[in-house]
Amino acid sequence: MIDLIHVTKRFGDAVAVDDISLSVARGELCVLVGTSGCGKSTTLRMINRLIEHSEGEIHIDDQQIRAFREETLRRRMGYAIQSTGLFPHWTVARNIGLVPRLLKWPKAKVQARVEELMALLGLAMEAFAGKYPHQLSGGQAQRVGVARALAADPDILLMDEPFGALDPITRQSLQDELRELQSRLHKTIVFVTHDMDEALRLADHLVVMHQGRIVQQGRPLALLREPADGFVESLLGGEDRGLKEAALLPVSQRMLPLGPRLLARERIGQHASLREALSVMLWRHAERLTVVDDDDLPVGELSLRRLVGVRSDE
């Protein structure tokens, strides 16, 4: 869907992005992660031609991006940024309807689409449609920013640290919503962040950048298990890697079927992560947990030995 082929970007003599190649498959959520100044935003902005690449080729659906008019290309891609960039003199509804209006959709269709998106992002129509951006909280403004990016139903969504300025709780709930949204909409998303936890939580495909280059890319678990070098390893949390990996694995992957033994008193949902299970064990001083399904019915059990990955149980 999106292909970067040996792409380089120079600003004068400085090389901001250095010969990177990257493919994002349709429906995939690709996260670019790395320390500040490593070229993530530049890479993202080359895809919608806010920045022109110096060398190499960028393809969308196998067509060079330079084959499109800039405006046409950008209207096909949603774009959400950390500062939201909502127009302060427009209401929420008008902000969200921007791209559909640029595409000359009929009024009624724009209106219907705005309502649909506000519902999708949990913004009550009566409460928010007529509000101005300065009347919104950070989280609400970012929802509006995402709604605006999704407005014309683009296949591609480009997001540059969209949740970077939010408090941890709001950030996590927006991350969860994005995953939820993505499981329904199947957009092709390129997401930039410097927050590794966010990257691991969201990514189907994780791309680690350092000084303008891609140092490693692949599935998050693959990177956790086999970091290419010390830099990737430290970025992935060094000693904390075990916990980060546990946060990616569901309890159901390590649990055993219910045995003849008595059920353990402490319970954990089957969709919880191993990290959460470990936390419950530490907190409750329990070596065994009963795994329950969504209806709170026992479906298995998880021992500390199983959790940490010791193969034979007893």
Partner: protein, 242 residues
């Protein structure tokens, strides 16, 4: 402030201006007290209504030209293709204001002759700086995130200018126009020295003939006009902070 109430103050000043313009003759007693020695104490070479009309005309024409030129130049200098001219534009505008209008008149008369034209040129140059400076400040002051989003959403340059930049910069631009026009209402009086008859006439004539009453009449009307116009500007919907 309710919708109707906001216009009370400017309309009050405007009413005072009209009363003074039409009723100057009624104040003969007051002026005779100021200027006891003169035979005539009310300026009568032209009636005040005509002078006010000509004054307004000169200032308006100069303002319209200054707005077109100033806002246009500032817009051009903030486009990608015009960035190189940004320092030049702001320098030229500054020079325009440091150059005294009287000097402009002196230079313009030999070329343009006596009358209204030289004073319009002088006012145009003098009024350019506040407009250019404020338009630049307004356009450059827009949140970079907003500009980035506008481009990233696929708006064209013209759409961004009309729908985003101008509306957001409007309060600052309008403040510049307000300064420019208010200053020029006062400055226009010197046009009387080169034969552009306006509210400067009584003042110049009063100075030449040693008639203080004339000077007071001209100054009073110019002052009232400036205050009325300034007050009107301050009540325009865009002038407040948004």
């Amino acid at each position: 402030m309710s919708k109707g109430r906001r216009w009370v103050v400017p309309l009050g000043w405007l009413a005072l201006l009209l009363v003074a313009t039409f009723g100057m003759g009624q104040l003969e007693g007051v002026f005779r007290w100021i200027e006891a020695d003169s035979r005539q104490v009310i300026y009568a070479r032209a009636d005040f209504v005509t002078l006010l009309g000509r004054h307004l005309l000169v200032v308006s024409v100069a303002a319209v030209l200054a707005i077109l030129l100033g806002v246009g130049a500032a817009i051009a200098a903030t486009r990608d293709w015009g960035r190189d001219f940004l320092p030049l534009v702001s320098q030229l505008a500054s020079i325009g204001q440091t150059f005294p209008p009287v000097a402009v008149l002196a230079l313009a008369v030999p070329v343009l002759g006596f009358g209204t034209l030289p004073i319009i040129v002088a006012l145009l140059l003098y009024g350019l700086l506040p407009i250019v400076r404020n338009t630049l400040a307004g356009l450059e002051g827009i949140d970079p995130g907003v500009m980035e989003a506008a481009r990233g959403m696929g708006m064209s340059g013209g759409q961004i200018l009309r729908q985003v930049e101008l509306p957001l910069a409007a309060p600052v631009i309008l403040a510049g126009i307000r300064t420019s026009v208010t200053i020029n209402i006062a400055t226009a009086a010197i046009g009387a020295t080169v034969g552009a008859s306006n509210l400067g006439d009584p003042i110049i004539s009063g100075i030449v003939n040693g008639n203080t009453a004339y000077v007071v009449q001209g100054a009073l009307l110019i002052g009232l006009l400036a205050v009325s116009v300034d007050s009107l500007f301050s009540r325009l919907p865009l002038a407040g902070s948004r």
